[in-house]
């Protein structure tokens, strides 16, 4: 479960990224985080990852209370969260297998187990034969699939994706969404996007953020600009 309780985030230069936001996301729920650029979507994702702390309010992610300044379980928290970035963040000098395996190796999982789980993840994202290929040989859509494979590997219970289809063509966008659909009910999925078509097609819960405020929590899905 992810719980934001009256969370505000003010950056040192004074701009208020989040203004008193409260919401709860249940385990294995599929949620879209939508809103225009600069609304505060990425800030919410970064707060979940504890890349920075809220200025006020409290954040609970599973059994981790992220509010306090003293927090010595950062690695444990992040090993529970898989992240998919708009710019993929795939390491160019490592092949597909090695890129996906990173997600498991940071948790010190045995080599044999790593091989098995990476194979499963690559099959899930539709890249079973690309494990030895290097990123430079892949298309943007394939790179994003590698990123998703990396995010879902291991014991990661929450998948957060920040504009995962922002850099890919419409056809590939739907392929990527199909992968997220496959994970539905197995992991908590939070996708930040401003793509109305995607959000409306999947009919999942939508949290609408605007100017740092939660203006709508539509549990039936659907979103209008």
């Amino acid at each position: 479960m992810i719980k934001f309780d009256n969370v505000s985030k003010k950056f040192p230069l004074g701009n208020l990224a989040l203004n008193n936001i409260s919401f709860e996301i249940e385990d294995n729920e599929f949620v879209f985080l939508v809103g225009p650029s600069g609304a505060g979507k990425t800030t919410i994702l970064k707060l979940i990852l504890r890349e920075f702390l809220p200025t006020s309010g409290s954040i609970i992610v599973n059994d981790f209370d992220l509010t306090g300044k003293k927090f010595n379980r950062l690695e444990d928290l992040r090993r529970k969260i898989g992240v998919v970035f708009q710019d993929f963040k795939i390491l160019p000098e490592k092949n597909v297998f090695e890129n996906v395996a990173l997600s498991l190796k940071v948790s010190h999982i045995a080599e044999k187990e790593v091989k098995k789980r990476v194979k499963e993840a690559l099959e899930l994202v539709g890249l079973p034969n690309k494990s030895q290929v290097f990123p430079i040989q892949l298309s943007a859509g394939e790179l994003q699939r590698v990123a998703i494979a990396r995010a879902i590997c291991g014991e990661r219970e929450i998948i957060i994706a920040d504009e995962p289809t922002g850099n890919i063509d419409p056809k590939t966008t739907w392929d990527i969404l199909k992968i997220f659909k496959k994970l539905e009910g197995k992991k908590t999925i939070i996708i930040a996007t401003h793509n109305v078509d995607i959000v409306n097609s999947l009919k999942k819960r939508v949290l609408v953020i605007k100017e740092g405020k939660l203006i709508k929590d539509n549990r039936k899905g659907g979103y209008e600009l």
């Binding site: 992040r78 090993r79 529970k80 000098e93 190796k105 010190h108």
Partner: protein
């Protein structure tokens, strides 16, 4: 190993600089360690020679000599004393001049003095012992190697102190340069480190490749320095042999172990190689850790 080689291939100039700095440092360290061991071995050798020899007048009674010997032994400043009687002195004389019958005919045991060969616990006590002996009745002459030991002691102390200063300076420079090089490498891997942090990597997982690289460079630089140093030592060996003619061995005395420094032997070389390798790896790791620490906070 694969990651290590990829890292070296990706940053060839930084890697070369890393290697050269460590090599230079370790090569100089080897020379310093060798020089210090050699000097201490030489000091031990000189100290193991009779340090004070006191010759008695021929009329001095043996009982007086023994009394003096006991007094010296009880002073706590003397390691051992060897008594050479007139007869023994004559035997030594005969042995030394066995090829010269004329010299043997001219000398009898009566005219050779009895003597005591005294080994002090510390070279520091030598002048004191010599002064004490000079004042004793029945003493004819006191010889002691003060000048040689003093000079050797002074030289060893100067080299030891200047080596420490030089060594400290060398370590400081090496760490600064290695840190700068590692900083470059870390900057090149900034994205990877950021990603690893987001995936939940702990500090050690991120540091590990840098530590592995530090160990690799520490060992490889030390090995190269050692091989070049060995080549020089074996090239100079004949010259040193002729220079140190008459000295059978130079030994360093540790509490439970005696290390032969001269003649050059593999055991000694292996020990100084291990020391420099250990030192190389430690400073290499230290520099890497200091450089990377700020990136993983």
């Amino acid at each position: 190993m694969k990651d290590l080689l990829i890292s070296i291939r990706r940053t060839p100039y930084q890697s070369l600089a890393n290697f050269l700095v460590l090599f230079f440092n370790l090569f100089l360290s080897l020379i310093i360690i060798f020089l210090l061991c050699f000097l201490y071995g030489l000091l031990n050798y000189v100290e193991s020679r009779p340090q004070v020899t006191v010759y008695f007048k021929t009329e001095t009674a043996e009982s007086d000599i023994f009394k003096l010997r006991d007094t010296l032994m009880n002073s706590g400043k003397v390691e051992s004393i060897k008594y050479i009687s007139q007869e023994e002195a004559f035997n030594i004389y005969k042995e030394l001049n066995k090829d010269n019958p004329l010299l043997l005919e001219m000398v009898s045991a009566d005219i050779l003095p009895a003597s005591l060969e005294i080994y002090a616990k510390k070279p520091l006590y030598l002048p004191e012992i010599a002064e004490f002996l000079k004042k004793q009745p029945g003493v004819d002459e006191v010889n002691f190697q003060k000048v040689i030991i003093d000079r050797l002691l002074t030289l060893t102390n100067i080299i030891k102190k200047s080596s420490f200063v030089f060594f400290g300076f060398l370590v400081f420079i090496t760490i600064i340069i290695l840190m700068t090089i590692t900083n470059f490498k870390v900057a090149l891997k900034k994205d990877e480190i950021e990603l690893l942090r987001l995936l939940g990597a702990d500090g050690f997982y991120i540091k590990k490749p840098f530590i592995n690289e530090a160990i690799f460079f520490g060992f490889f630089s030390s090995l190269t320095a050692f091989l070049i140093f060995d080549a020089i030592i074996f090239y100079l060996n004949p010259f040193m042999n002729s220079y140190l003619k008459g000295i059978n061995s130079l030994v360093l005395n540790f509490e439970f172990y005696k290390l032969v420094v001269w003649p050059i032997n593999w055991q000694f070389l292996l020990i100084i190689f291990s020391l420099t390798t250990f030192f190389g790896i430690i400073i290499s790791i230290a520099a890497s850790l200091i450089a990377i620490e700020k990136y993983i906070k």
